[in-house]
């Protein structure tokens, strides 16, 4: 039995090459107003993988899901233009959105995956603004599903998925049963450009709207951000003439 639907869970992040990210004057976070946002690059890779699996006829339907304010629908629309069949926008805004972290998002994705009977949930391995690398793993744990994280290769084999994972020691190959959660790593694929005809088709695809309460998810955060600071400015180095000078200086400032 081939899997029916695959959920691709998207994150909207601050643009990766934006020139200046500033810390808010009250050190409570970074300034996001007026900063361009776009689909998280690892999520683009996740969308591409899901669409490829559908093109190879391993799955029937790809659903693009994202949590956040209205802006997030642009990301879902882009995923639709890349080939997803329909979208779900879970609306979270204001204070809830500011406090939203991997645990709340994972709860939402888990509830949706169960509700819609997804066979596979694919996410980007981490968001490039907060680099948490937690949502996929938490979603799997909440669902009590197997997980194949940091995937650089995914092959569906009947009821199982073979995942090649990029780990510190090299590549690890595992086989897990579906339903399962996968997270996409950089080398999994090269995402396609949304073609113009697909952008036109995306116009007609549906994006359903709901709130976390509809899924019975409480958005209360268990994490409190105490302070956000910029990395300390890099100080100028000191040039020395000889190795002896270097050793003397290192001894003087207590390094050795």
């Amino acid at each position: 039995m081939s899997p029916a639907s695959v959920f691709v869970c998207l994150s909207l992040t601050l643009l990766s090459d934006y020139p200046v990210i500033r810390v808010k004057p009250d050190n409570s976070g970074v300034v996001t107003d007026g900063v361009k946002h776009s689909m998280n690059p690892f999520c683009e890779i996740a969308v591409e993988e899901a669409v490829k699996l559908k093109e190879k006829k391993f799955i029937k339907e790809v659903v693009a899901v994202s949590c956040g304010p209205t802006q997030v629908t642009e990301t879902i629309r882009t995923a639709l233009a890349m080939g997803c069949d329909r979208g779900i926008h879970v609306e979270v805004s204001g204070k809830d959105y500011e406090a939203m972290g991997p645990l709340q998002i994972a709860k939402i994705f888990a509830a949706l995956a169960k509700k819609e009977e997804a066979s596979l949930v694919i996410l980007g391995k981490q968001a490039i603004d907060d680099d948490c690398n937690q949502t996929g793993q938490m979603t799997a744990a909440l669902l009590d599903w197997p997980q194949g994280t940091f995937a650089s290769e995914v092959t569906i084999d009947g009821e199982k998925v073979k995942v090649v994972r990029e780990i510190d020691g090299g590549l690890e190959t595992i086989k897990i049963s579906m339903p399962a959660v996968l997270t996409a790593d950089l080398r999994l694929n090269t995402p396609r450009y949304a073609t113009l005809p697909n952008i036109m088709k995306a116009k007609k695809k549906k994006i359903a709207n709901m709130k976390p309460a509809d899924l019975g998810v409480d958005m209360v955060s268990r994490v409190e951000v105490l302070r956000v600071d910029e990395p300390p400015t890099r100080l100028a180095g000191v040039k020395v003439e000889t190795v002896d000078d270097l050793v003397a200086k290192l001894k003087a400032n207590g390094t050795i």
Partner: protein, 395 residues
């Protein structure tokens, strides 16, 4: 990082544009930033036709933006086309020219004046990027004076026989077909010109040497020589004697395409200058702090933005099927002059660095120059605008 390039880019968000247009603009921008900008210098230096990129753009639907889906196109409107050409040209001016010529000058007249059979045969294969077309109107003896076409077409049995030389034909060395204009009835002067479809290569059709141009060097330009070139009677495009009308209407739309190309080049030049103004320090601060530099950047930005709005207006009028001849001419005139202005000032802001190939400013300067000449010189645009104005003010 896949985002490539160290240059800051400007994330222009136009809330007034419909969502689909914003999305398609973003996809074209992403493609231009990642696939075109990194190779544009090489394409220019080696006069290389970007065949692979043209195929990829074809797969995205960019080579046939306005063509209905049934014929293999993207089925979008002229505003979308203008946005696409601007973004592609911002990455590579030459590639923008290939896109514009294929869409506006080759597919344009066939879409408007062709029979259903002609559309199937001459448009569909040219939507994928595998094949591109060209447009042969100008001759060595007449550019602006298009009515004086000396290329002749005579009927012999079941064929048209074409003789003559066409000059300055963009894309021709890489094209698989052309729309050619030839005189069928000399006595009728410009009402005796007809349009024809000729496949390339074809017996009786040969190409002159590739011109060695100042700019848009990845795009081939040469003479097209017709010596007893025989084509079936069915290859006439539109009614006999309507060639001049077809050419003029095609150029009206083509003007919006070239305006868009000029906008892309202008924007690239402006981006280069602003980026440099942030990074280059002199007199103890980034040169962007100096008023002399600020005034240049401001003037460049105003030139580009006002030309852009004129271009969008012309495109939107065309999409609404309203008269747009005057606006298209205004768009082409202002955008091409903005491109040469920005190209020039960008080099000035960069100083010595603007004069060497290490920075793209000199390429933008060279690429910009042609936009004031082809598809109607700036002088012709002024005549068109004045002509329309005088018609509007009936005493």
């Amino acid at each position: 990082s896949r985002r490539g390039g160290r240059m800051m880019t400007f994330h222009l968000v136009y809330p007034g544009l419909p969502e689909m247009h914003q999305m398609m603009r973003q996809t074209c921008r992403d493609y231009a930033d990642r696939e075109l900008a990194p190779i544009a210098g090489k394409l220019d230096k080696e006069h290389l036709f970007p065949a692979q990129q043209v195929r990829e753009l074809g797969a995205m639907g960019v080579m046939a933006v306005e063509v209905p889906e049934a014929l293999g196109g993207a089925g979008m409107d002229y505003l979308a086309y203008s946005l696409a050409v601007e973004e592609i040209s911002r990455g590579c001016g030459s590639t923008g020219c290939v896109v514009s010529v294929n869409n506006s000058l080759y597919i344009g007249p066939i879409l408007k004046f062709g029979t259903p059979e002609q559309k199937d045969q001459w448009i569909t294969p040219f939507t994928t990027g595998e094949k591109v077309g060209c447009f042969a109107l100008s001759e060595p003896g007449n550019g602006s004076d298009a009515g004086a076409a000396s290329t002749l077409a005579r009927q012999e049995g079941g064929e048209w026989v074409l003789n003559g030389t066409k000059a300055w034909i963009s894309n021709c060395w890489d094209a698989s077909a052309t729309v050619v204009f030839a005189t069928t009835d000399k006595s009728l002067k410009h009402k005796g010109i007809s349009a024809f479809l000729v496949p390339m290569p074809h017996p009786g059709l040969s190409l002159g040497k590739k011109e060695d141009k100042l700019g848009i060097r990845a795009n081939s330009t040469a003479n097209l020589i017709l010596e007893d070139c025989r084509i079936p009677l069915g290859n006439m495009l539109g009614p006999r004697g309507s060639g001049f009308k077809i050419a003029m209407q095609t150029l009206d739309g083509g003007r919006i395409g070239i305006a868009s190309q000029a906008l892309g080049i202008a924007q690239a030049a402006l981006d280069c200058a602003v980026d440099y103004a942030h990074k280059r320090t002199a007199f103890g601060a980034p040169i962007g702090k100096l008023q002399a530099v600020q005034f240049k950047l401001a003037d460049m930005a105003v030139a580009v933005e006002s030309a852009r709005l004129l271009t969008w207006k012309a495109a939107m009028l065309k999409d609404a099927k309203k008269p747009f001849t005057k606006e298209a001419a205004m768009a082409k005139l202002s955008a091409s002059e903005a491109a040469t202005f920005c190209g020039h000032q960008s080099i000035q802001v960069l100083g010595g660095m603007g004069y060497v190939t290490d920075m793209p400013a000199e390429r933008h300067y060279r690429d910009a120059r042609i936009t004031e000449i082809y598809e109607g010189t700036s002088e012709i645009q002024r005549l068109v605008i004045a002509g329309q104005l005088l018609k509007e003010y009936v005493p």
